[in-house]
């Protein structure tokens, strides 16, 4: 049973990780906690649902479709809600703008779809594989594999491509990077696009796996992913992955061996502990400020 619960935890954790990546990437570059990120995840889940149920697309095509849709959504949000106030007013204004976008997006979806929970159609036959005492469902395998592929892809993008190099430069010093001829606005826009696409992938997979999509699903998932990003070290990409997986596993083990009532308490308890004991997170670098 322990191994099964561990797999349950990794599955949940990999969806947290996908959302946490968006938080951490945006934070890494413009030090903004993009609270609308959970809602992008929700829009991704609904975009996937629309593509699967109305257009009858294959789930993997729908996954890519939802990612593309949210890429543009993320870029649009950045263009409308964050860029106009960037540099002109304090970071607090951008945060308030993010909260505004978050409320706007979730209520917009509630207006369009109603607040009821809906599900994905039964898109594939779920196989169960028996490995000794461990039962593994094909859905879990798909989620783990797709998340792993996306995370490896992201690492390659960041480490090996020009835009990745530009992102790393911007995260070190946005101003210096622009002085070196990097178009900072474009890099920020791409960062939102990539983070949003990952969140959309998480949204679609959660929709398929748990069979539940509703307009307010982004709020709690967003907060949990935020906790995961802080746990891993906000700003650090491997940190977000590790943070997400750790949080998922701890939550599930908490439910399995303590009590379900502690589920959210575990996530936010960890957030508080990390902030007290190791504010830079697992993978974060300690920043020493010179006075």
């Amino acid at each position: 049973m322990f191994i099964e619960q561990l797999v349950n935890g990794l599955t949940l954790g990999s969806t947290y990780a996908l959302i946490a990546l968006g938080y951490t990437m945006v934070y890494g570059i413009i030090q903004l906690i993009n609270f609308a990120h959970g809602e992008i995840y929700m829009f991704g889940a609904f975009a996937g649902l629309l593509l699967v149920s109305v257009f009858g697309l294959n789930i993997f095509v729908a996954l890519i479709g939802a990612m593309v849709f949210c890429m543009f959504l993320g870029m649009l949000i950045e263009r409308i809600a964050y860029r106009p106030i960037r540099g002109k007013s304090s970071r607090l204004s951008a945060l308030i703008s993010a909260i505004g976008v978050s409320i706007f997006l979730s209520t917009l979806m509630a207006l369009i779809r109603g607040t009821n929970t809906t599900r994905y159609p039964e898109i594939m036959k779920i196989h169960t594989y028996h490995l000794g005492s461990l039962d593994l469902s094909s859905l879990q395998i798909i989620i783990l594999v797709v998340s792993a592929l996306l995370m490896v892809g992201l690492q390659l993008l960041i480490q090996k491509t020009r835009i990745g190099k530009a992102m790393r430069a911007c995260s070190q010093d946005l101003e210096a990077a622009s002085l070196m001829g990097i178009n900072a606005n474009r890099v920020i826009s791409y960062t939102f696009a990539i983070g949003s696409a990952l969140a959309a992938a998480g949204g679609v997979m959660v929709g398929v796996y748990y069979n539940a999509v509703w307009p307010y699903m982004g709020t709690m998932a967003g907060l949990k992913a935020f906790a995961a990003a802080v746990l891993g070290g906000i700003g650090s990409i491997p940190g977000a992955m590790i943070g997400g997986l750790t949080l998922g596993v701890l939550e599930i083990l908490g439910v399995a061996y303590l009590s379900s009532s502690y589920k959210d308490a575990i996530a936010f308890g960890i957030l508080i502990l990390v902030l007290i004991l190791r504010p830079q997170g697992i993978m974060g670098k300690k920043i020493t400020k010179k006075v």
Binding site: M1, I99, T117, R119, A256, S260, I272
Partner: protein, 397 residues
């Protein structure tokens, strides 16, 4: 970071407060006061309590339809004691602070003589205390857990009570189905569920059943993998789940995904069309719940209601439409019996209601002012539709 988080929470709370202020401004103004209502044939108002949006809207929306239909019929037939009746319908979103604001608004601004609802116990308790303080009758059409009529002599309910229904169902599970090992899952942040779980557990123990697993979930969660994995390894014959339909469907989805056989039994909180829509093949003949109303096998009174409801709304009525409909007619009957539309007077007639033949079963208000309704319908899902499994009698000593 934590301060930013706090900041966000504070902002969200501010928004909620703002919204409740605006919600309070929604209804039309009433300048009629109590005395003038009784003197002339003025309109009397009934306040609707229920959610029209949010996670429990599935109970409120049909309830509102039943109430509207009853009021329309009554007005077409001359009203109550020659007063025309007007329903006031505000959406409480299933939220404790919303319902408190709405109940106060109904009483102080709309001057309602009675409130009908809420379908949820926790919310009814909030509104019940306000109704009692202000001496306005509240007749809940759905609150089934303990702690409602105890609030005071203005608080009533017209619903099948868990304390009568759950033991009848446990008796059926153990003696008719031969299930002896029970897993019980409670929805911890839901008053309905935490109230219902002990009723089931006492009945299971009294009937000689074993509880092999006690577990909990929280409302609004979607990840039940850990609980279901535990359930799979617990060796239970049946799962008793005391929460609502959304979570029940998600639990059964997970059971199907983890590839084992389990029947889920619960209360009428599972009665929502989303159960079949969300659960699909996972809930097909796998979920059984009790309730006081089924559109299958109707009696004569029920048949006329069914026909009128289908003609008006082009859909099947459910337990909540039936109970809200009945609640309005019960209020009419007791006002006529008391020959008064003053809640201080007709509440005494309501306390004496005996064998009222409603569309949701026969209702008697017992000596403890609790309603006794019989029989109980056991409902399951066949081909994506609610279907009656059995009608079992309720024994009240």
């Amino acid at each position: 970071m934590s301060s930013k988080l706090k900041f966000r929470l504070a902002l969200v709370l501010c928004c909620v407060m703002m919204m409740s202020i605006f919600a309070g401004c929604g209804g039309e103004k009433s300048d009629v006061d109590d005395q003038s209502i009784q003197a002339s044939g003025e309109v009397i108002k009934l306040g609707f309590l229920g959610a029209l949006t949010g996670s429990v809207a599935n109970y409120g929306i049909p309830g509102k339809k039943g109430m509207e239909m009853a009021i329309e019929e009554i007005n077409a037939n001359g009203g109550i004691l020659r007063h025309q009746v007007e329903g006031v319908y505000d959406d409480n979103k299933g939220d404790n602070s919303e319902i408190s604001a709405i109940a106060r608004k109904y009483i102080t601004r709309d001057k309602v003589v009675a409130m009908v609802g809420d379908p949820c116990t926790g919310l009814t308790q909030v509104a019940g205390k306000i109704a009692q303080e202000n001496e306005v009758v509240i007749l809940s059409a759905g609150a089934t857990s303990p702690g409602v009529v105890e609030i005071g002599d203005y608080v009533f309910r017209n619903t099948l009570l868990d304390k009568f229904a759950a033991p009848a169902v446990v008796d059926w599970m153990i003696n008719d189905k031969g299930w002896t090992d029970f897993a019980v899952i409670t929805c911890m942040d839901l008053g309905y569920s935490t109230g219902l779980t002990p009723v089931f557990e006492e009945a299971i123990e009294a009937n000689g059943g074993n509880i092999v697993l006690e577990d909990s979930i929280n409302q609004g969660e979607t990840d039940f993998t850990a609980q279901v994995t535990k359930l799979k390894n617990a060796g239970a014959d049946v799962l008793v789940f005391t929460g609502y339909y959304t979570e029940a469907a998600l639990i059964m989805n997970e059971v199907q995904k983890q590839n084992f056989d389990m029947v889920l039994v619960g209360g009428d909180g599972l009665y929502g069309p989303d159960l079949a829509a969300l659960g699909q093949s996972a809930v097909e003949e796998k979920v059984i719940f009790y309730c006081g109303f089924s559109s299958d096998q109707p009696s004569d009174e029920t048949a006329a209601f069914l026909e009128a409801y289908r003609a008006k709304y082009n859909e099947e009525p459910d337990m909540f439409s039936a109970q809200y409909y009945d609640a309005v007619y019960i209020l009419k009957k007791v006002m006529e019996d008391a020959n008064s539309v003053d809640p201080k007077v007709f509440k005494n007639e309501l306390a004496k209601l005996t064998d009222y033949p409603g569309v949701s079963g026969n209702t008697t208000i017992g000596p403890d002012r609790e309603p006794i309704k019989s029989p109980v319908c056991l409902i399951t899902i066949k081909d994506g539709q609610f279907a009656i499994l059995e009608k079992i009698p309720v024994n009240v000593e």
